[in-house]
């Protein structure tokens, strides 16, 4: 994680490309992944992330010592993604997207509108969440990581671990409850 990484706002403000590149390396992928959770398209997510960094570079003159650069990046991306999603849901209605994709986009749009974006860039929060994942009961942790980080379907997980689909869901539910509690404590 990035907790040891310090962003040199002053150098970025002065147009130092190296300092800018460091931020890029630290956050680009996280921004991409964040956007993809909602727009469900890697290419679009990459574009949104690129846009956020272009914007950051454009407004560098206005940065000051108190500027929270990760907060800016995530917020810009969130706003652009929201815009994109609003257009997308309208367009999906009239084009050859499946009904299912259209419904899912609507759900994503609601989730993104209500997202508390700070849970994504606050280092203490990120640290707490990753620690909480680490501290999950063994089986629960295993299932959660397979689903969340390895992208396996519940069916695949059930087969692999020789447990029922219901049990998989229970583990996921348990994991999310514990993480949710952790977020509440750190807010």
């Amino acid at each position: 994680m990035e907790e040891t990484f310090r962003i040199d706002v002053d150098r970025i403000r002065k147009g130092d490309e190296n300092a800018f590149e460091k931020v890029f390396h630290a956050y680009f992928e996280r921004i991409c992944c964040f956007a993809r959770e909602y727009v469900c398209d890697w290419e679009v997510a990459r574009e949104l992330a690129q846009e956020a960094f272009i914007r950051l570079w454009e407004i560098r003159d206005n940065l000051d010592d108190g500027s929270d650069i990760p907060a800016l990046l995530f917020t810009i991306t969130r706003n652009n993604a929201l815009n994109y999603m609003k257009h997308l849901t309208v367009r999906q209605k009239y084009s050859d997207y499946t009904k299912q994709q259209h419904l899912e986009s609507q759900l994503n749009l609601i989730a993104l509108s209500d997202l508390q974006v700070d849970i994504l860039f606050r280092n203490d929060m990120q640290k707490a969440i990753h620690q909480a994942v680490d501290e999950l009961p063994d089986r629960c942790k295993e299932v959660f990581i397979m689903s969340r980080h390895l992208g396996m379907s519940y069916k695949e997980i059930a087969q692999k671990l020789k447990i029922s689909g219901k049990t998989v869901e229970n583990h996921i539910s348990e994991a999310l409850k514990r993480l949710r509690l952790k977020i509440k404590q750190n807010m």
């Binding site: 574009e47 272009i54 257009h87 997202l115």
Partner: protein, 361 residues
């Protein structure tokens, strides 16, 4: 409703019916909505992205700096051509690309016409694709995107007729005793050892020809009642024939102050033909060298060009934007860079999803 639906939504496993059920539940009241977004927030916060390699990140950063440099160049400059210094390698690549064009693109078929018992080759180019060929007599033809050219396998005739739908540039080999005819939907264009461009896309309702060298003659093929007399065109002239009475007058014609003399040809007794003397021909022919050039072109017309050039479809969602005029040249820009550049000179927003582009205020 149990939370199982939410968990399965997170993992992307909902069926259509379940999606609808969840959406209704979420929209039913604030408590449900909060439960849903809280869980999704937890899910999102636990992301663990460590898939991108350092090399990929480097590439992405390169892409970013190129875009920023492009933007910086643009501000304060009217032209939207990127100022780039090219290395020798770049030119070598360009040469390789041209050679590939000849062999690489365009789909060729052989077609036998029962009426004249003549065999033809058919070449189709798709959107975003160009093709170049050399006929057995040495005539060179560049075919632009989304076009169809049909030419006879046997070139040893006193009159060679090639049929064109779309756009092509012809550099016709000089042969004294032979006529080379480009047949479009409405007119025939006859050449004697010349270089000229013909643009005849059905959806544009016009046939346009630009002459760079030599002499060409335009005659009625079958449908062009507009053209009551044949027209002789001299070098550096550009002629637009409006074959579809519904067709809107083109951008250059609408703007009377633009680009040299324009004359109504009285003897043709038609308002549907425009001749531009002393046209800047390169604007109309540079596509064959891989440049997309446009001068004071309405955005709506430009969108058509971009659609063919990049194989995309563009949806303009704001009426005012349609009439904005743009001037510029694109060389090796991607569609992202092109739209970016355009939106810098007169601001609009856009989204690109696969090959669908939406333009908004």
């Amino acid at each position: 409703m149990n939370e199982s639906l939410i968990y399965r939504y997170l993992n992307g496993e909902l069926e259509e019916k379940e999606c609808l059920e969840l959406l209704d539940w979420v929209n039913a009241n604030e408590t449900n909505r909060k439960t849903f977004t809280d869980i999704k927030n937890v899910w999102i916060s636990a992301a663990k992205p460590e898939q991108m390699t350092q090399a990929e990140l480097k590439t992405e950063f390169g892409r970013l700096t190129a875009r920023i440099a492009n933007k910086d160049n643009l501000s304060g400059s009217v032209s939207i051509q990127a100022k780039t210094k090219h290395s020798i390698g770049y030119y070598l690549l360009r040469i390789a690309a041209v050679l590939l064009f000849i062999y690489g693109t365009g789909i060729t078929y052989i077609y036998l016409d029962d009426n004249d018992n003549q065999e033809y080759y058919d070449i189709y180019t798709r959107r975003g694709e160009k093709s170049q060929l050399v006929l057995s007599d040495g005539t060179k033809i560049w075919i632009n995107s989304d076009s169809h050219l049909r030419y006879p396998t046997n070139m040893d005739k006193s009159k060679v007729i090639v049929q064109l739908e779309g756009e092509a540039y012809f550099d016709v080999a000089k042969m004294k005793s032979r006529k080379f005819v480009v047949r479009t939907s409405d007119v025939d264009i006859t050449a004697l050892g010349t270089s000229f461009n013909v643009k005849s896309y059905q959806e544009e309702g016009t046939v346009e020809t630009t002459l760079e060298e030599g002499k060409i003659q335009i005659t009625d093929a079958k449908g062009a009642e507009n053209l009551r007399k044949s027209l002789v065109i001299l070098p550096n002239q550009r002629v637009t024939i409006y074959t579809n009475p519904e067709a809107e007058i083109g951008p250059a014609e609408r703007d009377e102050s633009e680009g040299g003399d324009r004359v109504r040809i009285e003897e043709i007794e038609s308002t549907d033909v425009f001749i531009q003397k002393q046209a800047n021909t390169s604007i109309y022919t540079s596509w064959k060298d891989g440049l997309l050039q446009f001068r004071k072109v309405r955005f709506e017309d430009l969108a058509l060009l971009l659609e063919r050039w990049y194989d995309i479809s563009i949806e303009i969602n704001d009426e005012a934007i349609r009439d904005w005029r743009y001037t510029g040249t694109f060389d090796k820009e991607t569609i992202e860079q092109a739209l970016h550049a355009l939106s810098m000179s007169m601001p609009f927003s856009y989204t690109i999803v696969k090959n669908q582009v939406a333009i908004n205020k």
